[in-house]
C-alpha cells in the first residue's frame, strides 16, 4: 500500500486499518533509525512505541503538506534527539559526557555484537554533535537524498552537505587515531 492509499484509507474512515498499514510499512525502518541514534535496543524499543503513539494521536491533523514518510521520520528524529538531550543533561549531572555514556551503552548492550571496526565506528558517531549525527545517520545508513533530509530536519541542503562533510572527516580522524581495530 502506498502512502497516498494509506492516507485515503484513513480519511475514508478506516482509521485503524490505515494505522496498521503504517505500522507494517514503517515500524522496522523507524526502529533502525532510532536505534542508530540511541544505540541501546531497550531505549529504541521504548522510543518506537512513543513515535507510533504520536503518529496515532496526530494523524487526524496530518494535512499531507509533507509526505507521510517525511512526517513519521520527523517525529522519530525528534523523539530520538529529545531522548539524547535528556541523556546529555543526566550525564552532565553525573559529571560525564554524553558520548562516553553512549560508548558505555555499546559495551553493555546485550544486543550488540559488532567487531572492533563496527564498535569504533559507532563510538565515533556518538561523539558527533546533534546536527552532524542526524545528517550522517540519514545519509550514510538510510541513504536518503539531501532534499528528503532537508524536509525532515528543516535545514537547507547546503548546510546539510557541509555538516555531512564535517561529520565524515571527524569520524575518519577518530578511526585514524584508534587504528588498533582490525
Amino acid at each position: 500500500m502506498t502512502d497516498k492509499e494509506i492516507v485515503e484509507e484513513y480519511n475514508n474512515g478506516s482509521r485503524e486499518k490505515a494505522f496498521n498499514e503504517l505500522v507494517k510499512t514503517y515500524s522496522e525502518r523507524v526502529y533502525w533509525l532510532i536505534r542508530r541514534f540511541v544505540l541501546s535496543h531497550e531505549d529504541a524499543d521504548d522510543l518506537v512505541q512513543e513515535v507510533f503513539l504520536k503518529v496515532w494521536k496526530y494523524l487526524p491533523g496530518f494535512r499531507g503538506e509533507s509526505g507521510l514518510f517525511t512526517w513519521i521520520y520527523k517525529i522519530a528524529t525528534n523523539e530520538a534527539l529529545n531522548f539524547l538531550h535528556r541523556q546529555k543533561i543526566r550525564s552532565a549531572l553525573q559529571f560525564e559526557s554524553l558520548s562516553s555514556e553512549l560508548e558505555r551503552r555499546i559495551d553493555d548492550d546485550p544486543y550488540f555484537n559488532g567487531n572492533n571496526a563496527v564498535i569504533m565506528l559507532h563510538k565515533a558517531i556518538a561523539t558527533l554533535p546533534e546536527k552532524q549525527k542526524t545528517v550522517f545517520l540519514m545519509r550514510y545508513y538510510e541513504e536518503l537524498p539531501y532534499e528528503e533530509i532537508s524536509a525532515i530536519t528543516g535545514t537547507s541542503v547546503g548546510a546539510l552537505k557541509a555538516s555531512y562533510h564535517i561529520a565524515y572527516e571527524k569520524i575518519r580522524e577518530h578511526l585514524e587515531k584508534n587504528k588498533d581495530w582490525d
Binding site: 482509521r15 485503524e16 494505522f19 496498521n20 505500522v23 507494517k24 515500524s27 522496522e28 526502529y31 533502525w32 536505534r35 542508530r36 535496543h41 524499543d45 518506537v48 512505541q49 507510533f52 503513539l53 496515532w56 494521536k57 555499546i106 544486543y111 550488540f112 555484537n113 559488532g114 567487531n115 571496526a117 563496527v118 564498535i119 565506528l121 559507532h122 545508513y141 569520524i171 575518519r172 578511526l175
Partner: protein, 129 residues
Amino acid sequence: MGKKDLHKNAGFTVPEGYFESLENRLSEIPSREKTRVLPLRTKLVPYVSLAAGFAILLTVGNFVLRKTTTQDYSLSDLDNEQIIYASSVSMGMSLEDIMDYEEESADEEDIINYLIESGTSLNQIASLE
C-alpha cells in the same frame, strides 16, 4: 571505511521475532488509546461537582449575608455587654482584653469612691444615686 565491511545494521542485533512482536504491540495502540478515552459523562463529573459546590457556597453565603445585613439594630436593643464588645472591637481590643475589661468593670461602690476622691461633694453624689 568501506560500506561492505560496515553493513547498515552491523553490530546491532534484536531479540528473535522482535519485529513481529513490535508490529503486534504497535497495532494495539488504537484500541488501547480508545479505552483510555473517557466517556463525556465521566469527563463532566469533576466540573459538575465543582459547579454544585460553588452553587452551595453561593446559596449559603447569600443566606448568611442577608441574615446579617437586614437586621436593623437600634442602640436600645443592645445590652451593655454588647455595646462594650462592639466599642472595644472598634478600638482594636482583643477578646482577652475585653474579658479582662469586663472582669475589672467598676461597680457602684468603686464609682462612689472615685467621686469622693475627686472632690465631688456628698450632696452631688447623693443626687446621682
